[in-house]
Each structure stands twice: as structure tokens, then as C-alpha cells.
């Protein structure tokens, strides 16, 4: 039973850690399926985290913070679109530039506004997204197996976790069952086909990039106002890139991407548990090695186990008519 509870709490933190990855990976899904490579997921999350925490700290509202986070992220997304779609610039360079800008800007502004070494003030509970206890969770707690499962794992997350999970089937439905999705997938494969069908490639790609901005905004706000209680310099710490890796591992499909995010998050949750624990037969493993676990896993999976991951054919290529 104790093993079961330990496992439940491990899975519980897996879900929490997977949420920002999932939101960012889905952001990447929209962008890359439309043919715009998005290395800048990291930067967008970071500015969103900062804007959300700063706004929540000043106004005491998590929702206002979320709005500010989304706005900041969308502005960065529009910049990316302006560089890559309107001016047909190099998408990787633009993304990297945005990441650098985001890292520098959040640190500088944070220091200038709050004078706490780049941090924002600790948020009180009502300026954060609190945990939601689902109906009957308490009542069912005593039911063997299912009770704890429902109480520990399914209930008791904040609203953004449920939102992120709901966006997965929604994204699937949009991508495969709607006109917008059909065009989105088409423009990432063969923009010329979309153009000759009389649809604007530019407009479609901007829409995709905006959705990516929106989702990264939620992911960033989650980091600083739901999972954490304030902003810290570089608090994304590579999550944007991990999300990108999850997208590749998920072969640019929403549901497999969800599982890839859960896998990475599980590795992350596991490494927190394993720190300082003596493993049978090995002894205590250095913390640094354990902390590297999720990243090592990423490298290994991407190198060997993905099989053939075929990105959308036109991703990374600005659309220029012949001649």
C-alpha cells in the first residue's frame, strides 16, 4: 500500500511537471504543423512567466497575471511571425534571438522593477492558481485503490492542468476534423498547394504562430503562478527545448506528444525522488548525474528510439513563389 501511495505521488508530480511541457509542445505543434519552426518556445514561456508573476504580484489576481502572460508571449510570437513569415527570415535564427531577448529582458526588468535580483515577490495564495478538489474526492477517499487514485492523482490540481489536458483532444479535433486543421496541416506540407487553392499562406501561418503564442503564454503563467509562487531568472531552464523534443518524439501528433511529455515529466519527477537516495547495489548517486536524467533520456530517445520522425515537409522554409 505504501508503494502504491509512493507511486501515486510520483505520478501526481509527473502530471504537474508535464503540464508546462505539454502546453509548450502543443504550441510547437501548431507552429510547426503550419511550417514555422519554433525554437522560441522557451523564450515565449519565459516572458509569459515573468509578465504573469509581475502582474499577479502587483494586482493580486492570477487571472490578470495569466492574461498578461499570454499578451507578452503573443507579442513575441508576432515578432517571430513578422521576421519569418512577412520577411521570410531564417526561423531558427529568429527563435534563438527571441530566446536571448527573453532571458535578458526578464532579468533586467525584474531587477529594475522589484530589486530582488531578478526575482518577483513571492505570491500570496490568492494571487496563484489554487488546487481544485473535484466533487466527491473526500467522500471517495476511503474506497480501496480507486479512492486514493481519484483523490491523489486526478483531483487536486489547478485549473491550468485540466485545461492543458483538455487542449490535447481539442487540438486533435481541430487538426483532423476541421477546415482550419486541414489547411494548417496542408500549409506545413506544401504551401504552394494551399496558395493555388486560393488560401492565404501568410494568414494561415500567422494564425498558427498566434495560437503558439497563446499556449506558450499559458505555459509560462503556469510556471510562475500555479506551479511556483513567483518568477525567478531563467525559470524555464530548458523546458521549451524539452517540449520541442517531446513534439519530435511524438512525431508532430497531439496524443503521442502528450505521452512524450508525460515520459519526460516522469523522469523529472523520478530524479527529484532519487536525489540523496542510496540505490541498492550502487549506493548514493551524485545529484548532478540524477538531475541530468531527463536530459540524458531525451538524447537517448531522440537518437535511437524514435525511429523515423518525419517533420512537416515545409517546416523551416519560408514560402516564396517561384522566380
Amino acid at each position: 500500500m505504501e508503494m502504491f501511495l509512493t507511486l501515486l505521488s510520483l505520478l501526481d508530480s509527473t502530471v504537474r511537471l508535464a503540464t508546462p511541457l505539454l502546453l509548450a509542445a502543443l504550441a510547437g505543434f501548431y507552429s510547426e504543423r503550419a511550417g514555422v519552426v519554433d525554437i522560441g518556445l522557451e523564450g515565449k514561456m519565459l516572458v509569459a512567466a515573468f509578465a504573469a508573476a509581475a502582474t499577479a504580484a502587483l494586482h493580486g489576481s492570477a487571472w490578470l497575471g495569466l492574461g498578461a502572460g499570454i499578451l507578452a508571449s503573443v507579442i513575441l510570437a508576432l515578432l517571430h511571425g513578422f521576421a519569418c513569415i512577412t520577411h521570410k527570415g531564417n526561423q531558427v535564427v529568429s527563435g534563438v534571438a527571441l530566446n536571448i531577448v527573453a532571458l535578458g529582458l526578464t532579468a533586467v526588468l525584474g531587477n529594475a522593477w522589484f530589486e530582488m535580483g531578478g526575482r518577483t515577490p513571492n505570491l500570496p495564495a490568492d494571487a496563484r492558481f489554487g488546487e481544485i478538489t473535484l466533487p466527491l474526492a473526500e467522500a471517495l477517499r476511503g474506497v480501496p485503490l480507486l479512492g486514493p487514485l481519484y483523490f491523489e492523482l486526478i483531483s487536486g490540481h489547478n485549473i491550468l492542468v485540466y485545461l492543458a489536458l483538455a487542449i490535447v483532444p481539442l487540438t486533435w479535433w481541430i487538426a483532423y476534423r476541421t477546415r482550419f486543421g486541414l489547411r494548417l496541416r496542408a500549409v506545413g506540407e506544401n504551401p504552394a498547394a494551399v496558395d493555388t487553392a486560393g488560401i492565404s499562406v501568410t494568414k494561415l501561418r500567422y494564425q498558427a504562430v498566434l495560437i503558439a503564442g497563446l499556449l506558450c503564454g499559458i505555459a509560462g503563467a503556469y510556471l510562475s503562478t500555479a506551479q511556483g509562487a513567483g518568477f525567478q531568472t531563467n525559470m524555464t531552464a530548458g523546458k521549451g527545448f524539452l517540449a520541442l523534443a517531446a513534439l519530435i518524439l511524438g512525431k508532430w501528433k497531439p496524443v503521442p506528444t502528450l505521452f512524450a511529455c508525460l515520459l519526460f515529466a516522469f523522469a523529472d519527477a523520478l530524479q527529484t525522488r532519487l536525489q540523496g537516495v542510496a540505490l541498492p547495489g550502487i549506493g548514493e548517486v551524485p545529484v548532478q548525474l540524477i538531475e541530468a536524467l531527463p536530459y540524458l533520456l531525451t538524447v537517448l530517445l531522440l537518437a535511437g528510439f524514435v525511429g523515423k520522425a518525419t517533420p512537416p515537409k515545409a517546416s523551416g522554409r519560408p514560402y516564396v513563389k517561384d522566380r
Partner: protein
């Protein structure tokens, strides 16, 4: 012999009046006026760069004209985007298909014409509508197959169906037969006839005069952006069209003496290539090429010819068999790359000029020494001697009549024909004993084709061995002393120049073996 009598304007399906278009310094269309009758097939011929595709792209709203007007069914219209063209009932089948390969046929048909924000209900309606169209025009297409799984001919039918589904009354086809096998061409023509019967207007862009003669009602000839002639097809012939295209008398045939083959210089025996997917792309290839002969390889593109060239030129490894180069045996494990091949006197003009033969962004003199940049004659110690490189390029350009003769001009600024002449000059300059040539005249205009053909024949007459791969049957027939036909990775037959004709090769290309591979070939190699 003008075929455009003045008439009531509404008698025409589409009229282009005084169309003018420039791309920077290039005047692609000058004051072009063309009228297309309903329920007819109208051919548009011209050399590469004559402005045919530009003109049709203007009609389809892909480009906007700088001047002139377009009338559809007698009414003046503004076509700014493909959407406008589609609304006016104009559809286009592009040379490079505008299909999303990872989509099913039905999804491709729906794209841009979905009929609602949610696909479900529209999908069912579209299916019924498309099936009706399929029956009406005799276009059979598997609606639920992925486009990437379909052969090119079927993909093309999807394109036609797509245009019809979007309500095309006027259908533009840009070089539709370039990628098709002869039987597929026949099938396409049957579909076009059917379209004409049903009252649709077909505009056929091509540079193949035979096709114009076979199917069109009228034909307009473009040269340097202008309409230079219009004919009623039944009242003209190929020679007249060819003359109008190039503006001078041309000869379509190649003058050459019978070959006097010498010893075998290049041979392959049971060469197999298995690609990364595990598919055997080259099966038991056996062939001999002798000094002083041109051996032509016919086949629809993608049937193993590319792999054959790549193996022989050292660009790709093979999995089993032997290649014999001037008496030296090369097995799958022998070190043999493109540089080795050159050192042994084998030169290669690759099929895909822009991918494999030149670098577009380089100036001509850099493209002109690629692969020969290690030559002692071009270097000064360990450095390249640019003066000599430029001088060499100038001499190559003079010998092969490359225009403009400016060695410092960027490679991409030369026309396809002149790029090709530069590549031919580079590869033939060292008098190779063996020359492999892939698609020597792809994207090359008629004037340059004749020149390139003459150069190949003269190399043959100097006692060199030439292996020619071409998708153009006319070219194979005109140049080859012996013809091998490939289908599905195999050499399915051999014909001498005397016994070869288009229909025989055509059936062999389609995979119907009528002559087995002669035993003699295999026996000779092992001897």
C-alpha cells in the same frame, strides 16, 4: 494562317488581350493576345523561357500582369489571386503537382473548398459529388488512398479532378506529359477528349510537338514572350511548328554515321542496389558499353535509371555484382567514388543539373571546374590559380557556345540550356573514354538540344563510349546505337537502333517484356 477570326466576344471562353509582364529585366510576356474557344483543346507551344508558363500563371492569378486585360465568357475580369480564377471557373494543373502528399485524395480535393468549418458533413457530400464527376469524365481515382502512395499518372488525375471539383470550365495543363509513360499519356489524352466533349476548354502547354499534333484543335506559338504564330492544327505539321518556335529552320533528326563499336569499356554484371527502405531499386543490371557507340537507356523516370548512373559514376554503393571499367573489376567492397571514376577516365553529366552538376550561387567559372578543381593545370602550388580557371572557362564557353560568354556571371543567371552546355563542356573537355549522360536536354531549348546532340555524336565518333539516360524517347531514338529499356529497376529488354520504334519501346517501358535480355550480353562480360 491566323486562327483567330474576329468574332462576337462571347463566342470565346477566355480572351487574353495585350498581356504584358516583366520580371525585373526579363520581359516575359509582350503584348500577348490569345483567344480560346469553348469546347476545344488549345495548344500553347514555345521553347523554355518563351513565356508560356508565365502567361498561364497570370490567367490563374498566380502572378498579376503589368498590362492588358482578361475576358472570361466575354466579360472583362480582374484576376488577382488563384481564388479569383477558381471563382471564374479557371483551373490549373501545374507541372509540379500542387498536392499535399501526406493527405488522402479526398482531403486534397477538399482543401480550399471545404464547404464549412467542420469537415465531417462536408466530407460525405464531397465524396458523392466527386464520384459523380469521376463518372462524368472517366477519371478513376482511389479517394481514400494517400497521395504519396499513388503513381504519378494517378496523381495527375487527382489534380484534374481537383480543378473540376472546384468548378473549372477552363482547364490549364502545364507540361502534363513530362512525367508520364506512353500508356499514361494516352489515358490522359482520352480524359482531355472527354473534357472537350463535355464542353470544357483545355489549354495545353507543352514543348512536345507530337502531342500538339495528336490532340489539339488549335495551336499558338510563343517565342520570347510574344505570340509569333497561330495555326489550326489540322492544317499544319510538326516542322512548321518547330520552325515557328525557334524562328529558323531546324532539323529534328540527328545526322550520324553508323557506329563502329570497339572493345567494351564499361560493363556491369548482375548489379543490385537495395535502398534504405529495403527496396531493390536496381535488379541484376547487366550491360556493356563499347568504344564508339551510344547506348541509350529508355524508361519512365524513377525506374532504376538514376540508380544505375549513380552506381556507375561512383556516387552510390551497390550491394552485389560487378562493374568493369576499362578492364578493372569493381565490386561492392572496392573503393570507388566519383573522383576515382574521373581519374579512370569516366566523366558524368548528372540527370539533375541544379542538384548535382552546378552550384547555382557560384559564378560560372567556379561551376565550370567542379570535380576537376584538383587539376594541376588549374592550381598554383596548393592554391587555385583563378586566372587560369577563368581562362579555362572562357575557352570552354567558346567551344560550347555558352551564352552569355561571361565567366564571372552567376550560374543561376544562365538559361537551362546554357548551364547544360557548360556542364557538357566541363565533362567532355578531358576527352573521357567513357561518358555517362543523364537527361542531357531536360529544360533545354531546341536550338541547344541540336548542339548538345551533335557534341555527343562527335564524341562517339572519336571512339568514346557513351551511356545515355533520357526520359525523352525521341532523344533516345535519335542518338542511340543500341537501346536498353528499364522498368521497375530491371533492364527489361534490348533493341538495336534499327529495330527500335516508339511503340515497341513504349510497351517495354510499361513493363511488358517482348524481348528477353540477350544472353550474349552476359556471356560477353564473363568471357
Amino acid at each position: 494562317m491566323s486562327a483567330a477570326p474576329p468574332s462576337v466576344s462571347s463566342a470565346w471562353a477566355v480572351e487574353l488581350v495585350g498581356i504584358d509582364k516583366r520580371f525585373g529585366p526579363v520581359h516575359a510576356n509582350r503584348d500577348v493576345t490569345l483567344r480560346f474557344a469553348p469546347a476545344s483543346i488549345h495548344g500553347l507551344v514555345g521553347e523554355n523561357g518563351a513565356g508560356k508558363s508565365t502567361l498561364m500563371s497570370i490567367l490563374y492569378g498566380f502572378y498579376e500582369a503589368d498590362g492588358g486585360e482578361i475576358l472570361v465568357r466575354g466579360k472583362q475580369v480582374n484576376i488577382r489571386t488563384p481564388q479569383d480564377a477558381i471563382r471564374l471557373g479557371i483551373g490549373m494543373v501545374h507541372q509540379h503537382f500542387m498536392l499535399v502528399e501526406t493527405f488522402t485524395v479526398l482531403e486534397n480535393l477538399l482543401l480550399g473548398h471545404e464547404g464549412g468549418p467542420v469537415l465531417g458533413p462536408a466530407m460525405a457530400r464531397a465524396r458523392a459529388e466527386v464520384q459523380a464527376l469521376e463518372q462524368q469524365f472517366g477519371l478513376e481515382v482511389p479517394l481514400d488512398a494517400l497521395v504519396s502512395d499513388l503513381p504519378v499518372g494517378v496523381q495527375q488525375r487527382v489534380e484534374i479532378l481537383k480543378a473540376l471539383y472546384r468548378g473549372a470550365e477552363v482547364l490549364i495543363l502545364d507540361e502534363p506529359t513530362a512525367v508520364l509513360s506512353p500508356p499514361e499519356v494516352e489515358q490522359l489524352f482520352r480524359i482531355l477528349e472527354r473534357l472537350r466533349q463535355q464542353g470544357r476548354t483545355v489549354l495545353l502547354i507543352t514543348h512536345k510537338l507530337k502531342e500538339i499534333m495528336a490532340i489539339t484543335d488549335r495551336v499558338s506559338v510563343l517565342r520570347r514572350g510574344q505570340v509569333v504564330a497561330e495555326f489550326i492544327t489540322a492544317q499544319t505539321d510538326r516542322q512548321a511548328l518547330a520552325d515557328a518556335m525557334v524562328g529558323r529552320k531546324t532539323s529534328l533528326s540527328v545526322d550520324k554515321a553508323p557506329a563502329t563499336p570497339g572493345p567494351v569499356l564499361l560493363s556491369a554484371q548482375n548489379v543490385n542496389v537495395i535502398d534504405a527502405r529495403g527496396v531493390t531499386t536496381l535488379k541484376d543490371a547487366c550491360l556493356n558499353v563499347r568504344a564508339g557507340e551510344i547506348v541509350g537507356i529508355a524508361g519512365v523516370a524513377g525506374n532504376g535509371q538514376s540508380e544505375l548512373l549513380e552506381v556507375l559514376s561512383g556516387m552510390c554503393r551497390f550491394d552485389s555484382g560487378t562493374v568493369t571499367l576499362k578492364g578493372d573489376e569493381i565490386g561492392p567492397a572496392t573503393k570507388y567514388d566519383a573522383a576515382d571514376a574521373r581519374r579512370r577516365g569516366l566523366a558524368h553529366v548528372p540527370e539533375d543539373r541544379l542538384k548535382l552538376a552546378v552550384i547555382k550561387e557560384f559564378p560560372a567559372h567556379e561551376s565550370a571546374i567542379l570535380g576537376y578543381h584538383q587539376d594541376k593545370g588549374l592550381s598554383k602550388g596548393w592554391r587555385l590559380d583563378w586566372k587560369r580557371v577563368v581562362a579555362k572557362t572562357v575557352s570552354l564557353m567558346e567551344q560550347f557556345d555558352v551564352r552569355p560568354g561571361n565567366p564571372n556571371l552567376r550560374t543561376s543567371l544562365f538559361s537551362g540550356g546554357n548551364q547544360q552546355k557548360l556542364v557538357m563542356a566541363r565533362e567532355m573537355d578531358r576527352e573521357p573514354d567513357i561518358l555517362l549522360v543523364g537527361q542531357p536536354t531536360r529544360g533545354v531549348d531546341i536550338g541547344a538540344i541540336a548542339f548538345i546532340h551533335r557534341q555527343l555524336v562527335s564524341l562517339r565518333d572519336r571512339g568514346k563510349a557513351i551511356l545515355l539516360v533520357s526520359a525523352e524517347l525521341d532523344e533516345i531514338l535519335a542518338l542511340s546505337d543500341r537501346i536498353l529499356v528499364m522498368c521497375d529497376g530491371e533492364i527489361v529488354g534490348e533493341l538495336s537502333a534499327a529495330e527500335a520504334n516508339e511503340s515497341r519501346i513504349g510497351t517495354m517501358m510499361a513493363g511488358i517484356k517482348d524481348t528477353p535480355v540477350p544472353e550474349a550480353v552476359a556471356a560477353e562480360v564473363s568471357a
